[in-house]
Subunit: 209 residues, 4 copies
């Protein structure tokens, strides 16, 4: 009469929550948000459906958590660079841009190219959140450079927005990286654009795509 009692494994809530977010992130990137069922996530983590809903009120909420985790990481990287002293402003901005491109590229490589268009929801959310959170940081540095005189920019915030629009273009066009020649041209073009848009003095942007 023994019931095949499924082990009931209890963990620290914070740990469980992370497990769920990590599994969701992996699956969302592989198969896309909408193609991933809550049952896929709980199967991965080996918990019951109810456990999922104990931690997240809905599937959309875990998507927000996944995105937040990603953005937070990106933001903190960028912020760290910002806080370094003794860096010339133009160089600092250069580092920030490289960091943004770099992480986006890395992230994109995880996403399945095949499901490209089927992950629109996640892409859209990610892009908007990225822009919203990074614009203030870029804008601050641009503004600072403008005061310093190393840049010549009238509207730092708006300029930062358009620059970010160009940076996330990479995120939306991962096929670029498949072709080294193309990738190279894009890199050089963006280097030029950055220099011109900011009207930098005595500095050449060097990107590492």
């Amino acid at each position: 009469m023994k019931k095949e009692t499924k082990e009931r494994i209890t963990k620290d809530p914070e740990e469980r929550r992370q497990e769920l977010i990590d599994a969701a992130e992996r699956l969302f990137m592989e198969k896309g948000y909408e193609q991933t069922a809550v049952s896929d996530i709980v199967r991965e983590v080996q918990v019951a459906h109810g456990t999922f809903y104990y931690y997240f009120p809905s599937k959309e909420d875990i998507l927000e958590a996944v995105i937040e985790k990603n953005i937070a990481e990106l933001e903190s990287n960028v912020r760290e660079i910002m806080q370094q002293r003794d860096l010339a402003t133009a160089f600092k901005l250069n580092l920030m841009v490289n960091s943004i491109i770099g992480i986006n590229v890395a992230r994109r490589k995880l996403m399945d190219y095949l499901h490209e268009e089927s992950n629109a929801v996640m892409h859209e959310k990610m892009e908007r959140r990225t822009v919203d959170r990074l614009v203030p940081l870029l804008a601050e540095v641009v503004a600072f450079g403008a005061e310093e005189g190393c840049f010549s920019v009238q509207n730092p915030r708006e300029t930062a927005e358009f620059l970010l629009a160009s940076l996330v273009y990479f995120f939306h066009h991962p096929e670029i990286f498949a072709n080294p020649r193309r990738s190279e041209k894009m890199r050089r073009t963006l280097e030029t654009i950055l220099g011109r848009v900011l009207a930098v003095k005595n500095y050449n942007f060097v990107l590492t795509v």
Copy 2:
């Protein structure tokens, strides 16, 4: 056993097809692609489900048709401008950019702001298709201007891509238009950016957002 047979209205296939596309377009803009069911479309046009599938193999196909219709219109507008003779290249490019922004803005105004994030699939597809189709046109004019000497650009195609990335930014951020001050700043910033990125000679871009 008499069946009250519902009127069976036959139309010219091309007309029917258009009716379906128009209804779909309206609904996709109002409620979003995923929130629109095939039954919403057929209800609107007053035909049976079968009729829909007689014209389109799947729901995604009518989305493609809707997008194609939109892009084709945009492309033809832009192409028309291109073909005008006796226009200075910089001025021609200016007109093209205005046309792109204008149509995007008009389109966005139709879309329900409320469903912003819930229409990611359509947004994403629209953006990619727009970029794919307009890049060659912009690139051609940019290249021509570079040869002429009114622009100074190394990689016309890549430059056109990044410029388009900035133009579609408006499409993704319709909230901009809600605030006149903001909208104004964006416009002026973009005017400056265009001038700098292309390194135009003897011309100032004037946008009409």
Copy 3:
């Protein structure tokens, strides 16, 4: 490679609808409304889940349909009696009351005693709808009798309400019928009550429980 294609049986919509209502009625009475799953209903009728929702927007809607069917039947019986000419008013009311009790008793016998308290939702709805629909009919006859002088009643409508409250008591207490002695006493008591409440002249109510 032949697919075991499940026969696709198409029927006249009205017939299908009735099949679904009938199956639902049977199941609701046997197991209770809440204990009946939509899958129980579709299994019975041998259609797909989708078919159910093609006919009824929700499970609650089929409950309404089941109740409506029942009430309509009861109402039409009672109305038929009302419309008979050449019946003394008291006798006519007597027939109406017998009809109401009779149908309720019959219905109750179908319901599973075991699930008594687990079918509260259906009971409550049924009772309210019954009262709402029958009060006007009873009230009319009571009023007519009062004018004629065979009854002596001040407030026909309210009196009808309280009488119905007594009639549906049987519906809520099916255990009464299990005990002949009890059942008999209830019958006689109700006969007396009817006579007294209406202050009937020259007539004795005779119930057939």
Copy 4:
């Protein structure tokens, strides 16, 4: 590895039990029995789920407790009236009826009208228990009055049942109280009915709805 242990508040078991019952009662009345989750109750009382199940084996059991609490109160009120000496029987019965109506009315006013039909389970249980517990009391007084000669009734128990059926009608139709005219008519009608059903001598019932 320190866990920030949440305060663990211990109380007298009887007190805890009452807290739970009171919270459940409030919630059941506001939202309905089925619409109230066990988690709503424990959140209200600020205890863990396990604590709930330490006191009540199941959700249904706390419903029974809530109902019992209510009925017990009603029964004791009515019983108190019964035990008063020096009251004429008809007057005593009148007081009892007023007490029953009064408490039901008061209770109904607490219940959310909006969730009317969604609280069927609780309504049904409450009604049955009310009838079961009050019938013997009413029957006893009716029987006593019959012996005394102030009433003329053959079957006191059954008569009491039908009278209670009329009294609980108010409970099921709270909308009555919203309309003073209607409420007034119902009251007067019931006064007349009581007098007639019991065939009272030298007394007029006066209700206080």
